[in-house]
Symmetry: C2
Subunit: 417 residues, 2 copies
């Protein structure tokens, strides 16, 4: 089965909106072993959309379209579907009921503009929208499938997961297996990781390995293709073992893991509580931890101690220490971690203090300088880190380094090489 | 000038990485009035990359390539550039110095793998990398320009801003002007916004208006094309005035503004201090506020009062109130805002408490129920909001609604219709 992904919208073409839809669809189709032959972006113009529908439909078995289904005048996708398939619009009762309920649940009044969204191309099976008002369309013609979904990412995602992907899966007869597995590392640069792995051809034996760095670390993606799912899985397992033997302590997770999800699991498994004191990251560490469902099981509280007064009053950092060493110092990091652990009665205290930039640096304490403190029942320590000069990247890197320090403490992994 | 953007990397094609590079480049070229004829993604395969180089180079004046310049075996872009332009690799002293300094500044040892990155195609002007080790290439052939940059977004962005865009700008002679302007709204659904604007054709008089919704609100993008920059700007100004007359109080900013940047400006201009107490959003509001450079000028402190103990001990919420109404209640929201304002001596206190899901809901207090509290020197109030059932979307929406409540208080904008 060959697929083409079409994203409709000037906002993508001119870079005002990221094409998260094509990425999500690409990932999901790849999981189903479907080959994506093309991914294209077209503007909100009927003539161009119709031409792209034709090009995609002629050369592929599956076409997935997103965007342009909203209730306003600039949304032309439905009209193009009606024209391309030479069909007509009919009001769909189920869809109208969905839209009415959606508005009622939010205490809003249904307008004519929204009622109009219950009009669905006659030859399409409507795909109901649990997150918004515009329905999607599932169209079968010959042996080909044409799916249209709204451009709002969470609406599209909900339709994909609950309707489109299960329906596609039932139509597939898979023969070749492409399996990928991702090992997620942090705290080690790409080049050093590569060097530590040694002879890469010996390691891979025909499999593929990609290194994908960003500010949170380097992802290693292993890809194996085989006629048998079992062979592919075994081979991935063998390569993974070899990699772990060499750089295992830098690997915090696999695939969709995040450092915060890994830490959440470790803490919940131990029934342990964490408290966090953030200065320079300003809530980012806490925000990441509370993105995990059930975070109240392990996160007791957090303090964003931005001012010195907050550090002293809420976390009992000594004023003398701040005077003597400055708020950005290894001593204050240690006291922040100790303080937040003590006031919350938690098992672990984690803290960060640093200079994120662009302003606030000096010769002795440049932008990018960070201290991370951590305490458990036995030790209370802090480390120095030096990052770059971009504020948001520094926040990301600091939060990642802090969570990694906690992971290493929880698992007893040393920082020594 | 016609441009083609090529993104190299399987990780984009299969959706493991978002194509932020194409979006950024698309936006920057559009700002320079350059027409983007195509944006394509190709895998890390030499034959396919070479074919794509040819296709793009034949039909365009400007080709921008990102990805595949890293130090590991899976990066093949440099080899393709050498082959396509029939040139050779030469060690560049400046680049080698940059790489050496980069490693020194981070206290790391330069490896052979990294030293190799100082080899640059002979016909290219290297584009120095201030954020990493791989240089980019600026190649001119005939009247055409071919630019190659690393795939790491912040490395590419730095090269674009400091080298590529200024250099392209000097080569342009613009004739037609396409000007866009974005008005950012929140707290009003797309359909209601559309209805409130009335007759859209009367409003636009040939200009274009797009509605771009996401969980933070609806962006209205106005586009005007004209032979004269002044005419285009005047027309945009007129349309903007008409829109503001109808839905102005929902508009919090323009173009690259964020609600947090707008609030930061308002608070700094007044010399006012803010403190925030977050329960359900777990640090997201504080994180957004501290993304603004200079946030220490207006943000005094924040508390992530996840447990009831934290609410009582740190923010002086009454235990009786929690007992009687529950932690998710209008009364607790008000006391949280009052408490955080009082302990910090700030001018404004902002608080949120709610149920983000997926678990924790009940019939009387379902997932998505949120209370937001706000206090200044005169009033202390709280509002109820009802969002959906997706945890991360609920966090985003709650943080946006809280910041919008603060903006409306600061500007004296009523919630009444």
């Amino acid at each position: 089965m060959k697929a083409h992904i079409i994203t409709i919208g000037d906002e993508i073409l001119i870079g005002q909106t990221l094409n998260t839809n094509a990425a999500f669809i690409g990932e999901q189709l790849t999981n189903l072993q479907i080959r994506i032959t093309a991914s294209s972006v077209v503007p909100d113009e009927e003539a161009i959309i119709l031409k792209e529908f034709k090009r995609a439909f002629d050369a592929n078995d599956l076409i997935l379209v997103t965007g342009g289904l909203g209730p306003t005048h600039d949304d032309v996708t439905r009209k193009c579907v009606v024209d391309y398939f030479d069909t007509e619009l009919i009001e769909n009762k189920d869809v109208l009921e969905d839209i009415t309920k959606f508005f009622e649940s939010r205490g809003r009044i249904l307008t004519g503009t929204n009622r109009d969204q219950a009009l669905v191309p006659a030859m399409a099976t409507p795909i109901r929208n649990a997150r918004g008002t515009a329905p999607g369309y599932w169209i079968e013609k010959g042996k080909k499938i044409f799916v249209v979904m709204p451009g709002v990412p969470y609406e599209m995602k909900n339709m994909m997961e609950n309707f489109v992907l299960p329906k596609i899966a039932t139509l597939l007869e898979s023969k070749s297996f492409i399996i990928t597995d991702n090992l997620l590392t942090t705290g080690i640069p790409e080049s050093l990781l590569f060097d530590k792995l040694g002879n890469i051809d010996d390691l891979l034996q025909g499999a593929k390995l990609a290194f994908l760095p960003n500010q949170f670390g380097v992802r290693m993606r292993i890809t194996v293709e085989s006629n048998s799912e079992e062979t592919a899985k075994n081979k991935i397992g063998e390569i993974e073992q070899k990699i772990r033997a060499k750089v295992g302590r830098f690997i915090y997770g696999r695939n969709n893991d995040t450092l915060e999800s890994v830490i959440a699991k470790l803490l919940i498994d131990r029934g342990a509580k964490l408290a966090v004191a953030e200065s320079c990251t300003g809530g980012l560490i806490l925000n990441r931890l509370t993105n995990i469902a059930g975070s109240s099981q392990f996160l007791e509280r957090g303090v964003v101690a931005y001012s010195n007064a907050a550090k002293v009053e809420l976390l009992h950092v000594s004023e003398d220490t701040i005077q003597k060493y400055g708020a950005v110092s290894i001593e204050v990091a240690r006291q922040l971690a100790e303080g937040v652990k003590a006031i919350s009665g938690s098992d672990y205290g984690l803290s960060v203090t640093g200079i994120m930039g662009p302003a606030g640096g000096s010769e002795s304490k440049p932008v990018g300088l960070v201290y991370i403190g951590i305490c458990d029942s036995k030790i209370c320590t802090a480390n120095e880190f030096r990052f770059g000069d971009d504020r948001l990247l520094n926040k990301d890197r600091t939060s990642q380094a802090a969570l990694e320090m906690l992971r290493r403490l929880l698992l007893g992994i040393s920082y020594e090489d």
